[in-house]
Chain length 307, copies 2
């Protein structure tokens, strides 16, 4: 699936993934009112808001953005109806042709990780296959080591899927664990080496593996170092935009050909309409403009103007 992602990035000329992380506060007033009137103040109303909101965002950026990344927590918060909205979002995203990155950060011991691996390709019930998650790639938390990774790996080949394993996260307290020094190197370097090794059997013709890494865009030096240490690992870079990282910060996280990474922006794109009165409630148009500005920033600052 890394190959498809790389191909789509080239097609759109844009290494951007839009984070579909809706909140109730983010919903435009008219949409909110309409759904509350139809369904009451219920999880069902919020689910319908999220589906309509995400659909409009996806349609607005479809020709310029290769991938979307819904964060499952934003949906799980609303229980079963929320998860239905997540699944409907991933289903529509696949139908529209996006690469779908499920930001689920699951991770557990082997038999349990095997159950979570159903996110990538579904589950067999006495010979019948059911895939309700519709994800192409998912994010994985690594605290349990390779036992938590291996069950997903089987899906990489069999189902042509991908994973991104957390190495350095974009949040302020990421250092508490990830920057402890062991054997002269921070934990994230150890994690990086593990991820690069886990990915070895899953490399494609591009040189990149279906086992990727999450590297916070907010850590320029760590990211540049990991780029050198992990030459076959494709990076998902969260933290651009609302979390503070800029095009300049992530320059070193791409390879010499400007490949090897995709940059996520969530609020910076989907809630862009809140930043300027001129959009009114046209959140989709605002998202499209924000995505275009981001593409320009990446080209000017990451690739030296080569749009």
């Amino acid at each position: 699936m890394t190959e498809q992602l790389i191909k789509k990035i080239a097609e759109k000329n844009n290494p951007t993934v839009v984070g579909l992380d809706p909140t109730l506060e983010m919903m435009p007033e008219a949409l909110r009112r309409r759904m509350f009137e139809l369904y009451g103040k219920t999880p069902k109303a919020v689910a319908e808001m999220f589906i309509e909101f995400n659909t409009a965002i996806m349609d607005a950026v479809l020709d310029i953005v290769p991938a979307v990344k819904p964060q499952i927590a934003m949906y799980e918060r609303y229980g079963l109806e929320g998860i239905r909205a997540y699944m409907e979002t991933t289903r529509l995203a696949k139908e529209k042709g996006f690469v779908v990155i499920g930001d689920i950060k699951r991770g557990d011991i082997s038999s349990t990780a095997e159950a979570y691996a159903a996110h990538l390709g579904g589950v067999d019930i006495d010979g019948e296959r059911f895939d309700t998650w519709n994800e192409d790639i998912v994010t994985i938390a690594p605290y349990l080591g390779s036992d938590g990774i291996t069950p997903f790996c089987k899906r990489l080949s069999d189902e042509n899927k991908g994973i991104f394993v957390l190495v350095v996260t974009s949040n302020p307290s990421s250092s508490e664990l990830q920057c402890l020094i062991s054997d002269g190197k921070p934990i994230y370097e150890h994690m990086g080496a593990l991820v690069e090794a886990w990915g070895e059997p899953y490399r494609s013709i591009s040189g990149y593996s279906r086992v990727g890494a999450v590297v916070g865009a907010t850590h320029p030096e760590q990211g540049a170092l990991l780029r050198r240490l992990m030459p076959h690992t494709f990076f998902l870079l969260p933290g651009y935009g609302a979390q503070g990282a800029t095009g300049k910060d992530i320059r070193g996280m791409f390879d010499k050909d400007g490949g090897g990474a995709i940059v996520n922006s969530s609020r910076g794109i989907i809630a862009a309409y809140k930043k300027s009165a001129r959009f009114g409630e046209d959140f989709a148009l605002a998202a499209r403009e924000a995505a275009i500005i981001m593409q320009k920033d990446l080209y000017e600052n990451v690739f030296g103007g080569r749009v």
Copy 2:
């Protein structure tokens, strides 16, 4: 909620939590056939099997076991219907009076962790509260540091809930990350110190905090060391039974009064009927007998026979 858990353990005279981690393979043939006939080979059929199976197990151990711990992955595997079965299990468990530990191992950056915190007490929709998860305590993955913990902490006081943070896990590859040495101490000791510190504001009259730790029962020496280093942290001990740990292995993970920890067994109890032909398909009776044997083992080996 740690207080309620401690009280329930004393009432039942049994520091055992039953892991409700059903699989399709584990289902008795008659139940399987009946649900497939009613609903076809569908996620709905599996969900109904799991609900009926879990209900019978819970009823069979209700008078001897204080808590249950459904592992959400086993349900999430079956998509929306699976998650419905998880929620119905937690709802029934609460109704029956068990302390409900949701084994969800979520963990993310702050705004996202805030969304996941809805597991503990639900979500507000314009002033209306919806709690569909019904969990009293959830497990948390710590790779992102305190940002991923803090949003849950607010729920500890406001909603009287608890969390168990992963420190040492029970699986073979846990050492890959958790046993790296930093500043003369393994990562799990650093994690243990963080957890003990995070829990400080949430200590109850028992001396134990509402911030607990997951410590794999399969690591006797590490567990005993952590018991000494984390005197205010209540432990959830997975890995007993099917994963190989015995009563003797976990002796050192309890405090001097035999408190401070609860031991999980999943397959060892709920799939006990598969181990002996004499039960036929009476999985509930087999589960009850396995729970009684486990209680005896804990008393003989952990507490020196003081049932």
